[in-house]
């Protein structure tokens, strides 16, 4: 008997043992997914925002709204909802058959509890700020108001949930698909405290229920029979394998150990297309990779002419096609093209041919006082990583003809972002990946105090963004946001480089998995045909 056959036999025996223990039928229809890392927590209030955390939590919890296989918003625990005319009040009517995995009903009180738990300063949730549009949320989170003043209310014996916003926020509903929009079982938290989310304690309301978690190795779930749509869920369970070494992940996928591998490295794209074309799923996603310029006094990039010249000289097609194997698309805007009901504005000049751009760039540099005898010495920061380094080297070479000498500085991610936040840079690599489908999530990067690394200040822009957040007419709102984006891009606070792509390997035996720009995939829609 070969070792492999013995392993198979062992697995069969384990499967048989599982049957006698009353576990669901064998592991035949268990989906194996390679995710990018271990979740920080299974508690929706304590995740840190990794895509891989959302992958897991989306399968084990269901919020007021959910997403279908195409990434579109559909009813979740709420079967229907209304928004008041002033856009400030959301009323959700909950389904009667929503149950926790321990059989208890999911009620509006669970949502009230969850929302209060999220903004409670003691919980120290990384994502509490997503709830700041809700009445008093920010004050409570800052310790300046009582928990029960939060603008949420359970009505109609727990069948209706009302959420009141301080100001209308047109994007609010779309954000509720994220973990902070999930209910939390008050009865379990009261009993188990902070340890409620450990696999031996956790109670969930999604399609799958965690049963075992070996940190950094695997997180196993089984189908949750209490889930209201359980009849339509064909999988017996989903096992998630955190895989940091993506090349090892590709080998495991090829060896048949994984049905889905999330986020394969861009540099392997062409090779995978040749080896396993049926499995490669790639589509532009809602993420922007850009270089941000420091606009503060003292940095040479405080001069708009320099910023424009630098942006014009970057050959984005070379980066996307040659360096990244065509796995991403060159970008001329801040908002990626995949955002629905929105057409991004291009940064002025980027659509011209390269000669025109370079001529203009040289002239701008000359006007700014730089030339062959007075070169511009510039530091370019990026966080450590092979891809970031290759792009930085290429961009430095593209800037060379303008008389720019680039000094490259790389540091690990924590240090990189800490320096960006302190404004200690001239040009730096940055990126934004949105977890909901709305241009606002990108545009706020240049108006909010946080993540506005280059300190771009434009009151007209900020005003437009605030207005668009409050505008309820979707066409008018879109026009405002497009105007704002065009206005900001013309100031060259950043140089867009490329639009991220959702890159997945999916076995042909998996059905119900669709490409979508959000790159969000709920396993409840997936089925497996092992015989194929």
């Amino acid at each position: 008997m070969t070792i492999f056959a013995r392993a198979r036999l062992t697995r069969t025996l384990i499967g048989a043992a599982g049957l006698t223990l009353g576990m669901p039928l064998a592991a035949a229809a268990t989906l194996n997914i390679g995710i990018s890392g271990d979740p920080a927590s299974l508690d929706p209030a304590r995740v840190t925002g990794g895509v891989w955390e959302e992958d897991v939590l989306r399968d084990i919890f269901e919020g007021l709204v959910a997403i279908d296989a195409q990434g579109q918003i559909i009813p979740g625990v709420a079967k229907s909802w209304e928004t008041s005319d002033d856009g400030r009040t959301y009323t959700f009517h909950l389904r009667e058959d929503a149950r926790w995995s321990d059989g208890e009903p999911v009620t509006a009180e669970d949502f009230v509890f969850a929302l209060r738990y999220q903004v409670n300063p003691k919980t120290a949730s990384n994502y509490a700020h997503r709830l700041y549009p809700v009445v008093n949320a920010q004050k409570i989170n800052a310790g300046e108001a009582e928990l029960d003043t939060l603008g949420v209310e359970s009505q109609d014996d727990g069948n209706t949930l009302v959420i009141r916003l301080a100001e209308p926020a047109a994007y609010f509903l779309k954000t509720l698909v994220l973990p902070f929009g999930y209910p939390i079982p008050e009865h379990v938290v009261k009993e188990k405290g902070e340890r409620w989310s450990r696999p031996d304690n956790i109670v969930v309301n999604g399609a799958f229920k965690p049963v075992r978690w070996v940190s950094n190795a695997e997180l196993d779930t089984v189908k949750n029979t209490e889930f209201h749509d359980a009849d339509k869920v064909t999988l017996d369970g989903v096992n998630y394998y955190p895989i940091e070494d993506k090349n090892a992940g590709i080998s495991r996928f090829q060896a048949g150990e994984l049905d889905i591998l999330r986020d394969f490295p861009a540099a392997r794209y062409q090779w995978l297309e040749q080896q396993i074309p049926d499995a490669v799923k790639i589509t532009p996603s809602l993420g922007s990779y850009y270089y941000v310029f420091n606009l503060r006094d003292g940095s040479p990039t405080a001069d708009k002419r320099v910023r424009e010249a630098l942006s014009l000289a970057i050959r984005r097609d070379v980066i996307s096609e040659k360096l990244l194997d065509g796995a991403v698309t060159a970008s001329h805007s801040l908002v990626p093209p995949g955002v629905s009901h929105y057409t991004p504005a291009a940064q002025p000049g980027l659509d011209d041919d390269m000669d025109t751009r370079l001529n203009r760039a040289r002239k701008l540099m000359k006007d700014a006082g730089y030339g062959p005898d007075k070169p511009l010495n510039l530091t370019l920061r990026y966080n450590s990583g092979d891809e970031h380094q290759r792009i930085a080297v290429a961009v430095a070479a593209m800037w060379k003809p303008l008389g720019v000498n680039v000094e490259m500085r790389n540091s690990e991610a924590n240090v990189h972002y800490s320096e960006l936040m302190q404004g200690d840079f001239q040009v730096a690599r940055a990126a934004w990946i949105s977890s909901y489908d709305d241009a606002q999530n990108f545009l706020q990067l240049l108006s909010a105090a946080t993540n506005n690394y280059g300190d771009y200040q434009n009151s007209e822009y900020s005003q437009l963004i605030t207005q668009s957040d409050r505008e309820l007419d979707s066409d008018r709102r879109r026009d405002m946001m497009q105007r704002a984006e065009a206005m900001a891009l013309a100031d060259y606070p950043l140089a867009p480089i490329y639009t991220y792509a959702a890159r997945n390997l999916v076995k042909p035996t998996v059905s119900g998995w669709d490409n979508n720009a959000l790159d969000m995939h709920a396993s409840r829609w997936i089925s497996l045909d092992r015989n194929q």
Partner: protein
């Protein structure tokens, strides 16, 4: 002997104290904090997080708090793995690293020592060149090259063994990582054993043994092997402590839940408590392994005695 052990353990306390204190403050001096990332947190949230982990207190106070908890065996919460305490993570990961590392060391001794002895006995022959050439290859090719190649060949191409995953420590899952971990150790041990065997074989007591008319086998087994093992033994102390606390490379390539990656990830994420926990754990282990090795010396070298 017992008083020697007690003395050594007592001496370990100040050593560990220095290690803990130095790493505590060095970690805080490093730029970047545990909550700096691609998405900047609003000030209220950062303040809440700092308060939740007591990072808003003055540093000496944090140090005292940490030491107080440590005395009670509490390594504190991990900032990154929020559903686990550092103690949980070490308790979950260490058995895995121990099993992998223990097997790798056993394999390394089992193959490395005979290889070294053989090479020493057949010094400057083809056998010697072949064995030492192979060993040199084992040292020269790093395991992050060997491991993926083995995974590709035995896992993907031949399909004999799983490419990754722990699967509760099932034998097929162990083979590739153990071999990958052992290769370099086999090479080191073989080379060390050869050098020390050659030295011992040239010493006076071996000449005396041969002069007494003992056959070659007796000379090697009874007289040469034990003293020749001494350098390997002193190498083994830190090597075992190092290898059973995991290898970040092997763990990442094969997706294994050992504790090696916590050293590196903890440091990169500025997960202060996790780094401290692993450093303290590793420190204790090194102290213990060195003590055990020193005690073993007396078994291998009759000139070493601890009881006086």
């Amino acid at each position: 002997m017992l008083s020697y052990i007690a003395k050594r353990l007592a001496m370990a306390i100040p050593t560990l104290l220095i290690v803990i204190t130095a790493s505590f403050f060095l970690m805080r001096v490093a730029p970047g904090g545990p909550f700096d990332g691609e998405r900047q947190l609003p000030p209220e949230i950062e303040a809440n997080l700092m308060a939740a982990y007591h990072l808003d207190e003055p540093l000496p106070m944090q140090y005292l708090r940490y030491m107080g908890n440590l005395l009670q065996g509490d390594f504190g919460p991990s900032f990154k793995y929020k559903d686990f305490s550092v103690t949980d993570l070490i308790a979950q990961g260490f058995p895995v690293s121990l099993e992998l590392g223990g097997l790798a060391i056993a394999l390394a001794l089992l193959l490395g020592i005979p290889m070294g002895v053989m090479a020493a006995l057949k010094r400057n022959t083809t056998v010697d060149y072949l064995l030492m050439g192979t060993a040199l290859g084992g040292i020269a090719v790093p395991n992050f090259v060997i491991a993926p190649l083995m995974a590709l060949f035995f896992g993907v191409m031949l399909g004999w063994l799983p490419v990754g995953g722990w699967n509760g420590g099932a034998l097929p899952n162990l083979v590739l990582p153990v071999v990958a971990l052992a290769i370099q150790q086999i090479a080191y041990i073989a080379r060390m054993m050869r050098a020390s065997m050659i030295e011992v074989l040239g010493s006076h007591f071996i000449r005396t043994a041969r002069a007494k008319g003992l056959n070659e086998r007796q000379v090697i087994w009874r007289h040469a092997l034990r003293p020749a093992m001494l350098p390997v033994l002193s190498y083994l102390g830190p090597a075992i402590a190092g290898i059973i606390t995991g290898s970040v490379v092997i763990e990442q390539i094969f997706g294994l839940p050992g504790i090696g990656r916590y050293f590196v990830q903890g440091a990169l994420n500025r997960d202060y408590t996790l780094v401290m926990g692993t450093v303290v754990f590793y420190g204790i282990l090194i102290v213990l392994m060195n003590l055990i090795v020193d005690l073993l010396y007396s078994l291998f070298d009759p000139q070493i005695r601890y009881d006086d």
